[in-house]
Symmetry: C2
Subunit: 597 residues, 2 copies
């Protein structure tokens, strides 16, 4: 298996040359003191080292060995405990956490890059700090001061990890019908009973304690999603002096056998009058979870980018080394029996599809992360409101579009290897198996599409959509005379118009026929993602063009050529998606059940 190399140059290009992240950081009071370009650079550098040096080397062995369950205890694969120790001691878990509780207060635009490296090096491992950070966010936003002071510092520093306990055997997408119960005790705590499934890192041996955030129903709760509350349930109770107390009645009943991410524990968790504490208000648990969801969903998109980057790196190395057949333009390697496969047009097509999506996706992550930072730290209410809208709109796209394209990318990366791609040893098939989960968890990609089309677009009559469309249109208007982007301004305007047209037509069609939302949703999200990446590729061209003239590294000229490939060979999909959406939902809703077979 090829090594993992942190894509630092591309990350710096995005932060410094495209998005002026240092400028944003300096302008936001909550950030201006915690981060500056030098600090950011040092963090990227160190994160790259830990990803490549500590996490990547145990990725394949973690997959082979998997987590093991015995009598309720979960043993992690060799090396995971030590890696977790290193990771926690480096302060990485609390990188984006609130400094008032021991976090490092870094912006998401930077934290997102760090996450990409961790996830790209070892997704199974990366899930543990990702879920801890997510649990911290929910606790931070909704927990009482007492809970925050008690739990956040040890979660930020990795001594304790976090887990999110939502799904039940009969309730996944539809959390409104969960059955886990919470009975109030006299001392202000609650007794939680029920069974949760698919709980990532719900039990393991890497941290001293595990803090579960659990959705459950109070005795008097109304039916449906408005009767769900959120509880904090620690594996070990925590004494007044912060030492660990009694073992709580929460236990891991078994691990799931799954397709991938074998290095991570996917747990069935049993609650038998486990002691918990309410987080936030009664019956507002689902709302509290959604606070965290925007971050987690972006985090899943980031997992996709990390995996795609890893697959691309391996495929590129293999395409340069593997010799097989001759170039259509005659031998390029005449002293050997064959040419390296990178000379073949179709291998180039595969590599460029991977490169275009991976780099476009990284840009998209950074774009969304900046809006998240704006939403969190902006003081101007109008700026904050706009940023909130953008985050709400873009998050499902980041989650679903980036993971759908990540699976495509990993499948292509496996294909470059031919038969060897199907063999475990080379690591490419693991990336496919691991990445596949990103399209499913934290809300399936179909659910993301419904969220986008239903809640975020139709739900407000296109108000959020206008924010995005204006951002792109403003860019077009401001830059249409720049010769650097002359080739791309018109195609960008065309795809934006295409997206705007179908947005309008679905909003109209959904009025009186709500099924049109679900019928359009997945194709619409795909079209949205392509439009956003087209926009970001033009911005990358604009930044790369002046440096391309004297570029001997190939980085900047490579950007220009990858953009050309994106517009020539990927963006045409937008035409098909728009046509498919315009054809409406009749063909799927007209079916009687018997007609399915």
């Amino acid at each position: 298996m090829a090594d993992y190399k942190a894509p630092l140059q591309d990350m710096r290009f995005l932060l410094n040359e495209i998005f002026d992240a240092p400028g944003q950081w300096a302008s936001l009071p909550g950030l201006s003191e915690s981060v500056d370009p030098e600090t950011a650079d040092a963090i990227l550098e160190e994160a790259g080292k830990i990803a490549a040096g500590t996490l990547a080397p145990i990725n394949q062995s973690g997959d082979e060995q998997g987590c093991q369950w015995k009598d309720g205890e979960v043993t992690t694969p060799d090396g995971f405990k030590e890696a977790y120790q290193t990771f926690a001691e480096g302060g990485w878990v609390g990188l984006g956490g609130d400094p008032n509780y021991g976090g490092m207060g870094m912006p998401k635009s930077l934290v997102g890059q760090v996450e990409e490296m961790m996830q790209g090096a070892n997704m199974a491992f990366g899930l543990c700090p990702m879920l801890t950070a997510g649990a911290c966010l929910a606790l931070h936003a909704h927990g009482s001061e007492e809970l925050k002071e008690k739990y956040l510092p040890k979660m930020y520093d990795g001594t304790w990890s976090g887990a999110m306990d939502l799904t039940e055997p009969h309730a996944g997408t539809d959390l409104g019908i969960i059955r886990t119960k919470a009975k109030p005790n006299d001392d202000g705590s609650y007794s939680i009973s029920g069974t949760k499934i698919f709980i990532t890192w719900g039990e393991h041996d890497m941290a001293e304690n595990i803090i579960h955030l659990v959705l459950a129903k109070l005795p008097d709760a109304p039916a449906g999603p408005k009767g769900i509350s959120l509880f904090l349930v620690p594996k070990y109770e925590v004494n007044e002096d912060d030492s660990l107390g009694a073992r709580n009645n929460v236990s891991c009943g078994s691990l799931e056998e799954k397709m991938g991410i074998h290095g991570s524990a996917t747990c069935v968790m049993n609650y038998d009058d486990a002691r918990g504490w309410l987080v936030g208000e009664p019956n507002k648990g689902l709302m509290a979870m959604f606070t965290m969801m925007n971050y987690e969903r972006l985090g899943v998109g980031i997992q996709g980018v990390g995996a795609a980057e890893a697959s691309y790196q391996h495929a590129l190395a293999y395409a340069r080394e593997r010799i097989q057949s001759r170039s259509p333009n005659g031998p390029q390697n005449p002293d050997k029996q064959a040419d390296p496969i990178i000379v073949h047009p179709d291998v180039r097509r595969m590599l460029l599809k991977m490169k275009a999506h991976t780099e476009g996706s990284r840009a998209f992550i950074t774009y969304v992360a900046q809006w998240l930072d704006q939403a969190k730290f902006a003081e101007d209410p109008e700026a904050k409101e706009k940023a909130d809208g953008m985050v709400a709109l873009l998050t499902p796209v980041a989650k679903a579009f980036l993971t759908d394209r990540a699976l495509d990318t990993c499948v292509i990366g496996q294909q470059v290897y031919g038969g060897h791609g199907y063999i475990r040893e080379w690591g490419q098939e693991q990336l496919v198996r691991d990445t596949r989960i990103t399209q499913i968890y934290e809300g399936t990609n179909g659910i993301q599409a419904m969220d986008l089309m239903g809640r975020k677009v139709v739900g407000n009559g296109g108000k959020f959509f206008e924010l995005f469309a204006n951002d792109v249109a403003d860019y077009i208007n401001a830059n249409q005379d720049d010769p650097a982007v002359a080739d791309y301004i018109q195609p960008l305007a065309a795809v934006l118009e295409r997206l705007s047209d179908v947005t309008e037509s679905v909003i109209k069609a959904a009025d009186g026929n709500p099924a049109e939302i679900g019928a359009a949703a997945v194709d619409y999200l795909d079209l949205f993602g392509l439009t956003a990446e087209a926009y970001l590729w033009v911005r990358m061209v604009q930044a790369a063009a002046p440096k391309a003239e004297n570029d001997t590294s190939g980085f900047y000229t490579g950007k220009l050529k990858t953009a050309r490939f994106f517009f020539d060979r990927i963006l045409p999909q937008s035409v098909a998606l728009a046509e498919s959406i315009r054809n409406g939902g009749d063909s799927m809703m007209a079916f009687d059940e018997a007609e399915f077979g």
Copy 2:
């Protein structure tokens, strides 16, 4: 995991109502005596029973247990030996074999349906008879009468199995550079030495003997693909009286750890002066392999259809049972907490995409199989020549388009299950892992696309393509006034024109710039496949329409509605593919190597 149900109704619909297979059989002298509609029907019925009753029940356990290697011996998963016995005794291995050597002489249009059921029920198992049948074909076409009499009967009856030994560690796509050597012995045999990898069912415990067809180089062989010969190397030598003799010096060095098809053994095979016999002429081994390739490649396409069908059956059953959330049109299941997910538009979109591709692909297989039968059995030289051209043209499409869409279909079928789709227990993730190999082996799908675009289209100036285009155009001309297909004739004509246009433009562009072939190839194959399926969906509509009026089963009305979905929501992709191809290969060939990263 849901049961496997043989899709007999759809197979009969294709054979009897679309393609008039009985008419073709009766018209071909080599077939008219071996098959009639009653025989065919009985064969389908029995094949369905063995697929559902014998092979499907050991599919999941076979994946979990896998084949085990010890000291050169390979032990198959529990139940495989017994199932193989049943399968062989039923005469299924030699179903399409020459009756002069004990085969049943059945047409491919029928055998293809049987293969789909076997592969859909258990792909890992299905590979064994598939490779045996392939080896028989090559032997039948090129072996001496002595070899044929000695080996074919026991291979047809399953006593012995077959394997194809082509790939070496450094030589996959590029077989011209293989290193395995064959030295002539005084007795007319050859001593074969070398190492082969990725040999499917190269060693196992289900059959008494294993007959390897091995590519190797004679001492005086010219370099490259024109210096390769084909040899028959049995695991055990065969005595004059057909009893087994000495163990030959061919042995299995290890099994590959792979992504899926764990029930099958993927072997490293070592040859150490193993005794073999030349099949066909010296240095014409690659040609001899290609005889078999059209069948094997169609067989791989069939594997895709089988897996897609299985995934669809499971997904449909789950979508009907799983209750989650409410329909956008209000509760459909008011006495339960939620509606079955089949009410949701996006779940319907997923199911219909699966159904449209699976049924379209089955039609495509049958269409190609009929041309194969025509090529094999037609007596009129002109009819035979046309059929040969069609087979050459359509085979790479069947292999690559059907397996690419099969992976999509299996991924969708997994997605319908949400989180449960990622868990082993339900079987959907196994279908994804198993199906993934079909895009890789027997020539990667990229290689198929190059074969189509380079050899089959550009290579003869579009002559074969005209055969296909005329077939579709003739249909359009003959049926444009049929009200049953009025909605579809124009879109079909449009997509045919789109395909014809890009065919012409690539032929032109490739003149002087051969890289344009590889640059266009994969998109072109995809566009070709969509066009072919559009054509076949119109034919299915035409046959179903008269029966739909009084259809209470949903089968015929379902066909009409699935066609509508195909044209509304899938066929638009053809526009994007054509645009992408028209944009040419400059964007991929302009890259310097350093610019890839």
